[in-house]
């Protein structure tokens, strides 16, 4: 299928690659066709020697490869380790103590089903998607304006994962939800609209004065996000020149740009130079009509105001004339020339008018209709355009326009785009097509990455020539083919993976291995907790975690008192004092581009300026400092210590350790912990410090 040498050669090259940087360029650009653009199909199940090892098709592929390389798979993980692993992987939280105490492997399948059905699943897996969707609540870049409605997209993503929206539908909703046949249920219809927030939450240079450049930069972000997220291709390299490595000519880029430039962003963001982002999408029952009523009312008020001001002006003119003539208009009596008497009468009438107008205005303003809820979304622009190719990407050098379209190297036909259409609907279908060689492979790989800690393709956002080749190409194809055939269900995918033998292996590492990086999966990978599950687990142990989904966001709350044009990060301290002062799950923390909350930033939360399928995993002294000294962590440690029960010192120590690490401490660990209490004191403070130490331990921060 892929003319790239015998499989054995590929593997040894990969292993060599890890050991010898000289060979690091595993995917040397060449004239070979790109593997990821070839169609995928079900693969024959490979033969294995240890017939009793595999529990699933996935296992067959993995074992066959291991056997070929004479590698032995690790033994199974113990039940407690596995329980903790599957909890963090599926819902991002540690298991409940009662569950730890009563768990055995016979209950594993039931636990998996329970976790997949839990609303916490969406909070965990939704976050993975938000990394890819470069989700944030401000525009970033030069004028960092608040996206006060972005949180509704976030909550949509959580809901979509919880209801296991088939992934092809998830794609269609995000690219063209506004153009889909409206769902019957109102909430689902709103979700279709909110889903397109995906296109709209990116980085925007709202300070850009050049309108064409602004439009192209917005389209660029949308091309970048769409192509990386769904296709793992960096199409935006082709903005200025034909892609250097992948078959993406600059005409393809501008064909896509035409689709996005024919789309209007409804963002609810206003600056003094980019007014076109000011509108937002009305939601809820009769949202459009309700919005029209609000708009009409606003217009009426404005008209009335105009009339009122005219009367008020007349009134004050007459009053000034009287004052000029030496007459006190507040005094009705006294001798005065006849014309002045007339003026006094006029003034009286006008003053009456002013009062009436004031009353009328106040009443009108009082009767203002409640606006419908709003969301970030898009709609097709009034006059779709074909985008010119810009010579070397220079906005001042437009060449001939190219027809709106998709990437020509992908052998899927794009449906015809009508002259009144942007082409987003066609693009969505094209991406979500079962024939698209990239889409299913890309998402299957993303899921694999989060379950196993490493993708079958190590560059989840790049399936191009500069990306990595798959470690198990047949497995990837087989898995992708079955994913499509079985209805694009993410939950089924995850279920199959965690039920596999490969997932349930121990992560222990013997001294020597010919595959130290575990590329061929002879053991489970240890995973360091990311920022969100780490924070959530700390709150959980402290007993303060709030499981309810957060409706709204502090970004939106803080914006309420400020006119849209003033909602710029940094201005009058707007959004400078956002704090992690909620006990909601971390997915609900506010995200300001360029100014993430310290714990998120420190523990490598995804930079929302970029599509990030695989977070960096650095270990830094700043992380240790935060765990050592953050008041918030200390406070949770104290809460944690107060929850410890047990009549003896040892019982309480064991309780703490078991809650955090899902196992009882060894004799030596118990001794060390006991020694600490005797030195620090069997006091509230001593126990707080002990719990604080547990939170700092490597084992707590790691999924084994």
């Amino acid at each position: 299928m892929r003319p790239r040498g015998r499989i054995g050669e590929v593997i040894s090259r990969r292993i060599a690659w890890f050991c010898l940087p000289v060979l690091a360029t595993a995917a040397v650009p060449s004239a070979e066709p790109l593997w990821s653009l070839q169609p995928f199909a079900l693969q024959p199940l490979p033969m294995v020697k240890q017939q009793n090892w595999p529990r699933s098709r996935v296992d067959h592929f993995i074992l066959a490869r291991l056997e070929k390389e004479s590698l032995t798979p690790n033994g199974d993980a113990d039940a407690a380790t596995l329980l903790r692993r599957v909890y963090f992987d599926l819902i991002g939280l540690p298991p409940l103590l009662e569950e730890i105490e009563s768990f055995d492997m016979s209950k594993f399948a039931a636990v998996v089903d329970k976790l997949l059905a839990s609303p916490e699943f969406g909070a965990r897996w939704g976050r993975h998607w938000l990394d890819v969707a470069r989700y944030a609540e401000t525009s970033g870049n030069t004028r960092n304006m608040a996206y006060v409605l972005a949180w509704r997209y976030r909550n949509y993503v959580v809901r979509a994962f919880n209801r296991d929206t088939p992934f092809d539908e998830f794609i269609r909703e995000q690219i063209a939800g506004d153009l889909l046949p409206p769902a019957d249920e109102l909430v689902r219809r709103d979700d279709q609209l909110l889903a397109t927030g995906f296109l709209n939450i990116g980085v925007k240079s709202l300070g850009e004065q050049d309108k064409d450049l602004y439009d192209m930069n917005v389209a660029d972000d949308q091309i970048d996000a769409t192509c990386h997220a769904f296709l793992a291709l960096s199409a935006n390299c082709a903005r200025c020149h034909d892609h250097k490595f992948d078959p993406i000519p600059t005409t393809d880029y501008h064909a896509l740009a035409g689709i996005f430039r024919s789309t209007q962003n409804l963002s609810g963001v206003e600056t003094n130079n980019v007014l076109k982002e000011a509108e937002a999408m009305p939601l809820g029952k009769n949202g459009m009509q309700r919005m029209a009523v609000v708009k009409q009312h606003e217009k009426d008020v404005a008209d009335m105001q105009k009339d009122y001001l005219e009367v008020a002006k007349k009134c004050s003119t007459v009053r000034e004339e009287l004052i000029k003539a030496g007459i006190d208009p507040t005094k009705k009596s006294g001798a005065m020339p006849k014309e002045m008497v007339e003026k006094m009468t006029t003034l009286g009438v006008l003053e009456q008018d002013v009062t009436t107008w004031q009353k009328k205005l106040a009443e009108k303003q009082k009767s203002a209709p409640t606006p419908p809820p709003l969301g970030m979304s898009v709609r097709d622009g009034e006059t779709p355009i074909d985008c010119p190719v810009y010579d070397k990407g220079e906005i001042k050098k437009p060449l001939a326009p190219v027809k709106r379209g998709a990437l020509s190297a992908i052998p899927v036909k794009l449906a015809a785009i009508g002259p009144k259409e942007s082409g987003r609907r066609q693009l969505a279908d094209w991406i979500a097509s079962p024939q698209n060689p990239l889409t299913a492979r890309v998402i299957v790989n993303r899921v694999w990455l989060h379950v196993f800690g490493r993708g079958l393709v190590e560059s989840p956002d790049d399936f191009g020539k500069m990306g990595m080749n798959p470690s198990h190409p047949e497995l990837l194809d087989d898995f992708a083919a079955r994913f499509v055939k079985d209805g694009w269900s993410i939950k089924s995918l995850i279920r199959e993976l965690v039920m596999s033998r490969a997932y349930q292996m121990s992560s222990a590492t013997p001294a020597q291995s010919s595959d130290p990086a575990n590329i061929l999966l002879w053991r489970a990978n240890r995973k360091r907790l990311e920022a969100e599950p780490l924070r959530d687990a700390v709150l959980y142990l402290g007993g303060t975690l709030d499981y309810t989904p957060r409706e709204g966001s502090p970004v939106a709350d803080k914006a309420q008192a400020i006119k849209p044009a003033g909602r710029e990060v940094g201005r009058k301290h707007f959004l400078n004092d956002l704090k992690d002062d909620t006990t909601h799950r971390s997915i609900y923390l506010p995200i300001v581009r360029g100014a993430q909350l310290p714990m998120m930033q420190c523990f490598n939360a995804a930079d929302p300026g970029l599509v990030i399928g695989n977070r960096s995993a650095s270990i830094t002294p700043m992380q240790s400092l935060l765990l050592m000294n953050s008041d918030q962590i200390m406070a949770q440690a104290q809460n944690f210590s107060k929850r410890l029960t047990g009549t003896t010192l040892d019982a309480r120590i064991m309780h703490a350790w078991q809650m955090a690490c899902c196992r009882l401490p060894t004799t030596q660990e118990l001794e060390a912990l006991r020694g600490f209490i005797s030195a620090a004191g069997d006091t509230d403070e001593g126990w707080t410090q002990l719990c604080h130490a547990v939170l700092q331990s490597g084992e707590f921060q790691t999924v084994y």
Partner: protein
């Protein structure tokens, strides 16, 4: 003294040893990056002239024709409209230019203290950049790009070189402003987050607006450097417990690079708590030194004086990239009042920094860089201010292998547009990396299918700037 982890200890602490560390920069994969402490000093591409950089960022844009770019032609055209019907008139600088030092470099009286260092300065009169609006130009100065999220200059340096003191961050930025992309200016984007700048204090972003006053650097402390409830002894005892639990686990795990990394990094963190406040504490400096930098309550020089003195202390302590930010030189109205004020606030501290670095022998391997995101045109608008000029402006370098006592390049007759030996911002970045021993075309990071560089696809090393 507490344990200092030097490079050798760090190497031996890693079971993978030098083999793994040597791979840094050649890997794009995050899984591998986790095995490497990106702060470990690494080999340069070729011998370095500078070990560290101090970037004195004069945000807002100082006027070149009033400081370092003498234009006698302006005398002739004084008060003449710069174009037919234009309300703007050419305007000669009210500050006298004099030849300074042995080099005879012409520097105006606006910056009399920096002028005394003329023989150390490598003045670049032919700078130019792409954008004439502050936000974009500021971002481009700090990241090389004004349209996209890219790693900052300092983070590239830390990524490329690691840092010499493991107990301190590799990149600090003092007084960073909100404007021009806020923290993007010192962010790491797709580079390992440990390469990002650590901000100290916060400048106002709006000049001296009461809405957002600058944070005073006096007694400033960083977050998470001190535990509110435990003293050092209690914390040490706690860390000993944590480390014994970690080592016990490590013994069971066999090989576990991540846990080893965590053990090392917790120890570094503990030391950093002591060292960082020490370096930031200016009270240990003599009264004479404080006086030289202009530190003192109520003095106009206090804030930048503290920033510059802190910069010297960070340089001495082995921090790789130190940025001092001052704003806002943006004098669209009454430049004759504005510029002297900015000069007053910065001239003495910057000169003191040069003096201090020199007398400590640090100037030799410290590259000092001074300038704004762009300059100002030679003409005056109707508000007696000068607007923006990105087509020609002046920056200077000192020390760290920059050729001392020279002027490089020139602008046209009036000082508006760079003309001879033009130096684009990307060229400056390329030259800066070169002085640090890094080839700007080879210092790359693979992200999303592309090898990214600080200089994108641009930039030439300007040999004429190098001693």
């Amino acid at each position: 003294m507490n344990t200092h982890f030097n490079r050798r200890q760090l190497l031996s602490a890693s079971s993978a040893g030098f083999g793994i560390l040597a791979l840094k920069g050649l890997f794009a994969s995050n899984a591998q990056a986790a095995l490497v402490n990106p702060l470990v000093p690494t080999k340069t591409h070729f011998p370095a002239r500078a070990k560290r950089v101090i970037f004195l960022f004069m945000q807002g844009g100082p006027s070149q024709v009033d400081t370092f770019d003498f234009k006698p032609a302006l005398t002739k055209q004084h008060n003449v409209p710069n174009a037919k019907g234009s309300p703007n008139v050419f305007y000669q600088s009210p500050w006298e230019f004099k030849p300074r030092g042995k080099s005879g470099l012409l520097v105006s009286d606006l910056l009399p203290n920096i002028a005394r260092h003329a023989d150390d300065l490598c003045v670049i009169n032919s700078m130019h950049t792409d954008h004439s609006a502050h936000p974009q130009a500021i971002l481009q100065m700090n990241t090389g790009s004004f349209a996209f999220t890219r790693p900052s200059v300092g983070s590239w340096c830390v990524y490329g070189l690691g840092t010499e003191n493991q107990n301190l961050p590799g990149f600090v930025t003092i007084n960073p402003s909100f404007s021009g992309g806020g923290p993007l200016k010192y962010g790491s984007a797709f580079l390992p987050s440990v390469c990002a700048g650590t901000p100290i204090g916060q400048d106002s972003g709006n000049g001296s607006s009461p809405d957002s006053p600058a944070t005073s650097l006096k007694d400033i402390q960083l977050p998470f450097m001190k535990n509110a409830r435990m003293d050092a002894a209690a914390q040490r005892r706690q860390l000993d417990l944590v480390q014994s639990l970690n080592r016990h686990k490590l013994a069971q795990d066999g090989s576990n690079e991540a846990l080893e990394g965590l053990i090392t990094s917790a120890e570094l963190a503990f030391n950093m708590q002591r060292e960082m406040p020490d370096v930031m504490n200016l009270k240990t400096e003599s009264a004479a030194t404080q006086e030289m930098y202009g530190i003192g309550d109520g003095k106009a020089t206090d804030q930048i004086g503290r920033a510059c003195l802190m910069a010297r202390r960070f340089a001495e302590a082995g921090v790789r990239f130190i940025q001092v930010n001052h704003e806002f030189w943006d004098d669209h109205s009454d430049i004759f009042k504005g510029h002297p004020q900015h000069a007053l606030e910065t001239d003495q501290p910057v000169a003191a920094l040069l003096t201090d670095l020199k007398q400590r022998g640090l100037l030799e391997d410290t590259l000092v860089l001074w300038g704004g995101e762009f300059g100002r045109p030679p003409f005056l608008n109707k508000n007696k201010g000068r607007d923006h000029d990105n087509l020609g402006f002046t920056m200077w370098m000192a020390g760290g292998g920059a050729k001392p006592g020279i002027r490089y390049g020139s602008t046209d007759e009036t000082g508006f547009k760079a003309e001879q030996n033009k130096v684009h911002l990307h060229d400056l970045h390329a030259t800066m990396l070169h002085l640090l021993g890094l080839d700007h075309e080879k210092l790359t990071y693979r992200y999303a299918g592309r090898d990214f560089r600080l200089t994108d696809v641009f930039g030439d090393v300007k040999r004429g700037l190098i001693a």
